[in-house]
Symmetry: C2
Subunit: 237 residues, 2 copies
C-alpha cells in the first residue's frame, strides 16, 4: 500500500505538505476516499483515508495503527563532511536512510568542499528513502552545519561511543571491534582531504576514538554508508 | 602517487589502452620520464616510468614492486539483477569495488528491468573505483548475463556458501549469522520486483540459502552493497 509522509498528525488527522499532496494526488492519482498508509516519521504508522483531496494541502483521517518494521534498537548519529558532488551526498542520504540511521549532521571541517546545501532538498531525499524502504522513522537532519568542536560539545559524557574513522594510521582498531551492540554511537566522517591534525586532536581530546573501517581507502560517502552498515551488522549478530 | 591501470604487463613493460593513456597524459599531464604506480588489476603493483608518451598507447617501464593494501582474504561473488536506472547500477559497481569484491555478474531474471548494458562502460567504472581506492585488484566482471540456472550450475559443490537475500519471509536467518569467515561466498540479488518463486526454488534446490540482510526493505543496489559490507565486517571480526 502507498505510504505517505505527514508533516503533522494531530487529533486523528494527518496533514500533508504541498510536495506530498501533489505526489499522492497527481503522480499516484489517489482520490478522496482512497486508503493509504501514513507516518509522521516518528516510528508510528496508520492506515488512513483521504478526506481532503487538496493538491496543495491534503488531509487524511487516521483509521488503524499499523506496526512498522521493528526499530533497529541502536541510536546512530552520523556526522559527515559533505562531498563536493551533490549526487554523492544524496546517495549517502538515501542509503543510510534505507539501512537505518537516527540523526545526520553536515560537518563543516577546514577541508569541507561543499559548504552550502539546501535543507529542503536533502530532507525530501530522506522522506523518499524512508517511504521507499517502508519505514515509519525519518532520520533527524540538522538544519545547520556542525563544526568538530560543536560535535564534541554535543556529547560530553561517556555514555555514547564516539569514533572518527581514518585510513591514514595503521594499527588502529576496527570500528567493528570497538562498537558494543546496543550502545548509542556517533561517527564523524571527514572530507576527501581528511580532517586536519587539529580537528583530529580536538575530537580525540573530546573522547572520540580513531578507528579503521577496513583495509581500503574509501570515499567520504562510502565511509558513511559502510560505518552505518557495520554498526547494524554487529548490532544484529 | 598516480595509479595507472595496465591492460597488459609483460617483460618488464606495462601497456595502457587509449582511455588510460589519454587520462594519464592529457588529463593528468604526465610526461615521458615521470614516475607513477601501475597495476594490471591482478593484485600486483609497481612503480614505473613513462617511457612511451603516446596518447593512444602509452608504455611504462616497471621499476620496483610495491605492496598493495592487504587482500581481503575472502572470495566474494556478487550476482545482481541490474536496476533500471543506469546511475544506480554504476553506484553499485563503484561502491562494491571500493569495499572489495572478486567477481560481479549481471543476473538475467524474469523480472530484470535492464537487460542491456555496456560492458566497456561498466568496466571503466570498476577501473576508476579500483584506482581511486588505491587497490591493485580489479573485480572480474562477467561480459555476459547469467540466469539463475547458470549461476546455480557454476557452483555445484558445497565448498562455497550460497545465499539469496530476500525481505519477503520472516524468521529467516541473517546473512551475518550464516556467513563463516574466510569461506568463499556467492550472493544472488534479485530485481526490484524480486525473484519469481520458480527462480527462488531453483536457487534453493541448487544449495542457495534464503537470508535476510536486515529488517528494512532495501533497493536492489543497496542490498548488493550491504551484503558485501556485511561479509567484510564479519570476516574482519
Amino acid at each position: 500500500m502507498t505510504l505517505a509522509y505527514s508533516i503533522r498528525i494531530e487529533g486523528g488527522s494527518a496533514f500533508l505538505d504541498a510536495d506530498e499532496s501533489g505526489h499522492l494526488l497527481q503522480v499516484l492519482r489517489k482520490r478522496k476516499g482512497d486508503q493509504v498508509l501514513v507516518t509522521d516519521g516518528s516510528g508510528r504508522g496508520w492506515t488512513a483515508e483521504i478526506t481532503l483531496a487538496d493538491r496543495k494541502a491534503a488531509m487524511l483521517t487516521l483509521l488503524d495503527p499499523v506496526p512498522g518494521p521493528s526499530p533497529w534498537g541502536v541510536d546512530i548519529h552520523l556526522a559527515l563532511a559533505p562531498p563536493k558532488q551533490a549526487a554523492r551526498l544524496e546517495w549517502f542520504l538515501e542509503k543510510v536512510t534505507e539501512i537505518g540511521v537516527n540523526r545526520i549532521s553536515m560537518l563543516a571541517t577546514q577541508r569541507t568542499e561543499r559548504t552550502r546545501w539546501r535543507f529542503d532538498r536533502l530532507q525530501r531525499i530522506l522522506v523518499a528513502a524512508m517511504k521507499q524502504s517502508g519505514q515509519f522513522r525519518l532520520p533527524l537532519l540538522d538544519s545547520e552545519d556542525l563544526t568538530v568542536d560543536q560535535l564534541v560539545d554535543l556529547y560530553p559524557g561517556e555514555d555514547r561511543i564516539k569514533v572518527i574513522p581514518t585510513c591514514d594510521w595503521s594499527n588502529l582498531p576496527r570500528l567493528s571491534s570497538v562498537y558494543k551492540p546496543g550502545h548509542p554511537i556517533v561517527v564523524a566522517i571527514g572530507p576527501e582531504g581528511d580532517f586536519t591534525p587539529e580537528e583530529v586532536k580536538t575530537a580525540i581530546q573530546g573522547g572520540f576514538q580513531a578507528v579503521l573501517l577496513g583495509d581500503n581507502r574509501l570515499r567520504t560517502e562510502t565511509a558513511g554508508v559502510i560505518a552505518c552498515a557495520q554498526i547494524h551488522t554487529i548490532h544484529g549478530l
